[in-house]
Symmetry: C2
Subunit: 384 residues, 2 copies
């Protein structure tokens, strides 16, 4: 643990208690997305009718009703889950990623990752003594040639970590052809895929693309999902669908980390799914992000010189911006903070922590419409 540093994003997040700062840096879902009235009513019901079970120790695998609801939703809506798969509840998607690495990797083993990638995952792998080996992203996902070279070279690679939909931080989505090719390569080189899909339900443009897990006839994909972006991030509830043999070891590893996930909120999720309309709720969230993302992209066209490149996401929370060669990322980030705009420098997402970056991540999720416009104006002012 000596070499482990706190996540740059979490540290930036701590500084965001200053309300005068425009928070383009956070990865938080929009506060409007929390079903707080429904949660209040359903919680009252749990306290009135099932309080003891909701406050007592429970089993590590998760609340049985919620496990079934998640498994059947994954199956019916996304074609996920084969005969040898099972589903467990974890304390946020983060725990699923950490447990997968703990179970699959010994110290010195490697996790092959998209580069850039989700910092929380990279740190989880590092904390387990695994090396993070980056493969660059193209517009339609991970670079297949470099991926195959890496698979050939890295004899100790045990996991291939990908975020195929609305990738964090790059906002890109892997094409269907590439998903199939990645699956075939993983089979060929005998490596398990860790598919992280926290934003998959947040598509607000274009057509859904099947997950890699939905193609998993051979039982080589560990799939992590989460309620953080569709119900509440603070409750810390995610899920993992994976081959049962892998999952059993993840349960043992979870048991020693936190025994089980907060059971009251597992029951609350279960009740929400049973008694409310989760799909309709998600539709509302999509509409929210569609509007906010469109405002951000419009503002870019208006206020930011064309020398700045940026992704046009079809879902998720993030836009990935790349500076022209004459502007150093460090200088830009400092200038932005001086103007009370917080962004995350791309260096934070590099698999190789010493590698440079010319990009930064911003979100349209939490800022108000006024803040979105003003924040993009600041980006334009600095670049000009």
């Amino acid at each position: 643990m000596v070499d482990m540093k706190p996540s740059a994003i979490r540290e930036i997040f701590k500084s965001l208690t200053d309300p005068s700062i425009i928070a383009f840096a956070a990865g938080n879902p929009a506060p409007e997305s929390f079903p707080k009235e429904d949660f209040a009513a359903l919680s009252a019901d749990i306290f009135a009718n099932n309080a003891v079970a909701a406050l007592q120790y429970s089993i590590t695998e998760g609340y049985p009703a919620l496990r079934e609801q998640v498994a059947s939703r994954l199956k019916n809506k996304f074609g996920i889950g084969g005969a040898n798969d099972a589903t467990i509840i974890v304390s946020g998607g983060q725990q699923g990623l950490e447990l997968a690495c703990k179970v699959m990797c010994n110290e010195g083993d490697a996790v092959i990752c998209e580069n850039p990638s989700f910092i929380g995952a990279l740190n989880a792998y590092r904390s387990n003594g695994a090396r993070t080996i980056g493969v660059p992203l193209c517009g339609d996902g991970i670079d297949l040639d470099i991926l195959e070279d890496t698979l050939k070279r890295e004899k100790r690679a045990k996991l291939l970590y990908v975020i195929p939909s609305f990738q964090n931080p790059a906002g890109l989505t892997m094409s269907l052809e590439k998903r199939r090719a990645v699956y075939a390569l993983a089979l060929k080189y005998n490596i398990m895929i860790l598919e992280d899909n926290p934003y998959g339900e947040l598509r607000f443009a274009g057509e859904d693309i099947p997950t890699i897990k939905s193609m998993d006839t051979e039982g080589i994909v560990i799939y992590c999902g989460s309620f953080s972006k569709i119900l509440s991030a603070g409750m810390r509830i995610g899920f993992v669908c994976a081959p049962n043999a892998v999952l059993q070891k993840m349960v043992v590893a979870k048991q020693v980390e936190d025994v089980h996930t907060n059971i009251f909120f597992q029951m609350l999720c279960s009740k929400f799914i049973a008694e409310r309309d989760l799909d309709a709720h998600i539709d509302n969230i999509r509409e929210l992000y569609r509007t906010k993302c469109a405002l951000m992209l419009d503002s870019f066209e208006k206020y930011v010189p064309e020398s700045v490149k940026y992704t046009r996401p079809e879902g998720g929370l993030f836009v990935w911006c790349t500076l022209p060669g004459n502007i150093a990322l460090d200088d830009f980030v400092k200038a932005a903070m001086a103007k009370k705009l917080a962004v995350v420098p791309g260096t934070a997402f590099n698999c190789d922590t010493s590698a440079p970056s010319d990009s930064f991540r911003i979100t349209y999720s939490t800022p108000s419409p006024e803040q979105i416009v003003r924040g993009v104006q600041i980006i334009g002012e600095i670049v000009k």
Copy 2:
């Protein structure tokens, strides 16, 4: 992870969904101890007035108000916490133990433990690649001579793990003299103490004994506490008070495990402490366990042959029973299950998992008065 097995207790716990089984095996707090009406009212208040903060991502260290309340309660009531200490919130005491080992031990390092000891802790240390080295318990706590021999011999010992008050599973309490001696030995041999105190507030007879952490002038004690036995086990909220340098690394390790602990319930705990009377609530729990423990011990006198030895706890949840030499533990446990009585065999708590045991752990916490009497009768019948 290949060698890791699920906790025997958790597995037994899963079988306890059969209501016809008398559950002397669980380590659950009594359901009567949960302040469910207060929690219902305070939760409604949070949803009405502070819902967004309670459902959004939060900081890894824990809800600031709760951290302050815990720190000041530890300081004012128990004299815990020096100038270089800080306090963080974790996802149950279990996570505190696991993080402490992750931060202090490399693969192959050793954690010196009381033998027998808490199985969840032993498994957490094993999952981090640490060896668990057992030192036998005497009536007043760990055997000091064997402890010193072990400290001399084990050059890679990095933590000394003790549960000084109402030890799990043995129900014993370490004397004040022995606590001082253990602290002095740890100083002499340059090892950190991990003091686990989940039951400390559940004393229902005798006088409180100061924690080892309250003697920690040199900053060598990591102290883990929990709300599991005094408010709710299922919400998974514990805390760690430790030297700030150690704690900062634990925060980094926690960040990759679950980002932060369920924030709604952190706020609920904070509100309970601020707006209700936690000490009065704990007094009620003590009275509950005082009565139930007395009933169990009375039943032992009435129904169990004197050849069975058992501890007479002054607090906590457990009685530790030792069989006469002519009865094999395995046979006893099987006979008990055949009569629908679940106990935990002592082998589950051994640091050396292959070592035999002639003891088993039982609880008076969750069974009803009728079940307590009937369960002890069954023990007597089998032994006779």
